[in-house]
Symmetry: C2
């Protein structure tokens, strides 16, 4: 009865809240809650306050819970102690953004027709708000389901304080299942439900060979060159052409992929052309779709995110630089352990270049769940019901540190229903979200809630 | 008679002009005449005007001569058509300087006791002024010598327009010999006279593999990594640990060093400890002094001056970058040809990484002269006479593009009498000059002028 009422009113509800959704998304995106940059510490606090106020305004109980790092915003639509509980995880911190590179200002939401442009619009503020609107709707309709929100503020730096936070607040977050909305579809017509995530080990490698840059004429040939040696080190670590990691033992613990998973991957509808177009890549390392999908979902990587050393201004400055550094991460798959991988990396680098400094810059484990449980099946049914296409079960190439912690502490099924598309530009310039995904997402979540309530 | 008068009065003259010398050095250093950065175009013009005015104020004929690039300032103390002519070359453009890295502001001369701190103080404004003061003195004393000044304003970018400028003004610069004051002693107690310079081929290598940075989770493994590939390219080009260039044919035209040169090198008094200390190097590639000196004076190099790509801000940003670039130069020795070397480099890079872009960023040939002619002998005698120590004849590791052009067009002996010391920091932070070298230099130049006049 109630389910029918919810179904009947949802379209009208969504139409009625569009302007409100957009205003709240703008308020959220306009706060540059960049967790990687200590200069944005105040914005993180501002973001937490704004989120708290919105939850309260929506009629939820809400509080800001301190951690050893950035706070977590907790919200709760309480129906009844007898009703089952669903916990929804999103994060409200964002990746850095260089305004010079963007078409629109990254930290001021630009709305153009159905498009919402700005840093964090799709990762993960837009999906967070879609889940909130759907929750408020079913709550107001009296659906016998308790809904809790966990809005994290340091997901983009690997959730370093989330595990200890969760352990301390274990009782508060008792739940029957968890919904995470922070993943990406294969394409607009190919929704996906992730059941696996890669982990990550992040490092900063610094090499200093002198106290100042010196003249390359008067010292060149004798002075060491930290850029040259760092380049050699990177080349020792992996073959950039193929992506193959050359650190001994790196692949030892990689879980082999089952025949069934391989079969699913082949059927996932992954198109390399679409992938290249969505990510604006001129060329890729492989041309075979199944091999490409394996590399993203089930194989570990080593990537250099940034490098800098010496003179990088205009024109020529003929110096031998005195230092250089590179930011590197390794994406890990089950059953690789971040600690072991960091140790392998660190020892390898030290053996190749003893005076290179290796600084650990965050780590998180990979995750693999089941896609056969009733929650995932309910999610698949809800997607089919609202987006009218069959979702595929995938393993995601990205990492969400909080998931690993929730799995460890809360020990309940975790379901990933993302709303983002490849072209939305996770972590890229000109990130955006769109109303079609938000609208469909609110409907999908509401449908999923009615299904979960019955499980 | 006149020589004796000049000798007798020089110390008093030098004492009397110290404050004036310092004021003029400050006026010159305070103009940030950075030739590498187009943003300093106006400062280059300002520098030319200031130099012109100073020459006129000193009683010299002077003019600013336009070239296809930065102007050249020309000055002339004319004694008589019958007198021999000496032409003095210096440059008044400087290397870039990042104020954040300096103890004192680079573009505001700080005078502390005998030290003159600021960009360009030793390279090459301080020596230029020392030569000017010495010239004015002998001119006022009536020494029958014509003295011409060539003050270049794009030496630091490889003198790209100097050859064509000189060819057009060949008649104006008729001279019996040339004095270049832009080189560095072995140490404070070891003056040196260079008779060779390295040449240079500068390149910018850019690699672009996408149109924007993308998420290293959703694309990592498949997307190409331009930092990784550029690192590999640098490693293909040379072994940074040893300095050995791996580009086939690179060493083919290197002139073997004669037994006598090797013998001279061994006696040059080069100390690796002093070298490391003066340049603040923590470690070097070789520990044998003769091998070190060979690497700087008579062997070619490949050096990476700067590299940048991806995210270099605070913290972690897990992206696969879309571009990276490196500034590279190769210092060349006789008989390597910059054009041939650039072609070898360019073809090698293209073969290893076809979509890397190789941009030529200036080139200049190596130089080797004689150290046995009467001008060099007069220089050695003047140094001994004023600094009371025996100079050594060296080949310099640096490059002065203008020298190669003057040799080609003017075809007269070129003598290098530098005043700079290794610890003065050519091209480095906290560059400085000092009154002892300026004072001794003025005396030395005056003495050299009286000797040259008699040749």
């Amino acid at each position: 009865m109630q389910t029918k009422k919810i179904e009947a009113g949802i379209d009208q509800y969504i139409d009625s809240i569009r302007k409100d959704y957009e205003a709240n998304l703008k308020a959220f995106v306009d706060i540059p809650s960049v967790s990687a940059d200590p200069a944005h510490k105040k914005d993180i606090e501002k973001m937490a306050e704004a989120a708290l106020n919105l939850l309260k305004q929506f009629g939820a109980k809400a509080e800001i819970i301190k951690t050893n790092g950035n706070p977590v915003v907790y919200g709760y639509f309480e129906n009844s102690a007898k009703s089952p509980t669903l916990t929804i995880y999103n994060h409200l911190d964002v990746q850095p953004a260089d305004a010079n590179e963007w078409q629109n200002p990254p930290f001021s939401l630009t709305i153009k027709d159905d498009l919402y442009k700005g840093r964090g619009s799709t990762d993960d503020k837009g999906p967070a708000l879609a889940a909130l609107y759907a929750s408020k709707y079913v709550y107001d309709q009296g659906l016998p389901l308790n809904i809790k929100f966990i809005w994290e503020l340091e997901e983009e730096i690997g959730s370093p304080n989330f595990l200890s936070f969760l352990k301390r607040n274990k009782e508060k977050f008792k739940t029957n299942s968890i919904l995470v909305s922070d993943t990406i579809w294969i394409s607009k017509d190919k929704p996906s439900i992730a059941y696996g995530l890669r982990g990550m080990s992040c490092v900063l490698v610094k090499l200093r060979t002198g106290k100042k840059d010196v003249h390359s004429g008067t010292t060149g040939g004798v002075a060491r060159n930290p850029i040259g040696e760092l380049s050699q080190l990177i080349t020792d670590c992996y073959d950039a052409k193929t992506g193959e990691v050359k650190i001994p033992g790196f692949y030892d613990d990689v879980l082999p992929v089952s025949e069934q998973e391989l079969d699913n991957m082949g059927k996932a509808g992954f198109s390399l052309d679409h992938f290249k177009k969505a990510h604006e890549l001129m060329a890729v390392r492989v041309e075979e779709p199944l091999e490409a999908i394996k590399r993203i979902w089930v194989k570990p990587t080593l990537e250099v995110h940034g490098i800098v050393g010496g003179y990088t201004g205009p024109g020529v400055k003929t110096i031998v630089p005195h230092q250089a550094e590179a930011k590197i991460s390794m994406r890990l798959v089950p059953n690789q352990k971040p600690d072991k991988i960091f140790k392998l990396f660190s020892e390898f680098v030290k053996a190749k270049c003893p005076d290179a400094e290796v600084i650990e810059d965050g780590s998180l484990g990979p995750f693999i769940g089941s896609c056969k449980d009733k929650y995932n099946q309910a999610a698949a049914a809800a997607i089919k019901n609202t987006f009218h296409c069959e979702p595929v079960f995938t393993r995601e190439g990205g990492s969400i540190g909080a998931v690993v912690s929730m799995d460890e502490v809360l020990k309940v099924p975790i379901v990933f229903i993302g709303l983002s598309l490849p072209e939305h530009g996770y972590h890229a310039i000109n990130e955006h979200f769109d109303w079609q995904q938000a609208k469909g997402g609110i409907k999908l979540f509401a449908d999923y809630f009615t299904k979960v309530q019955k499980l």
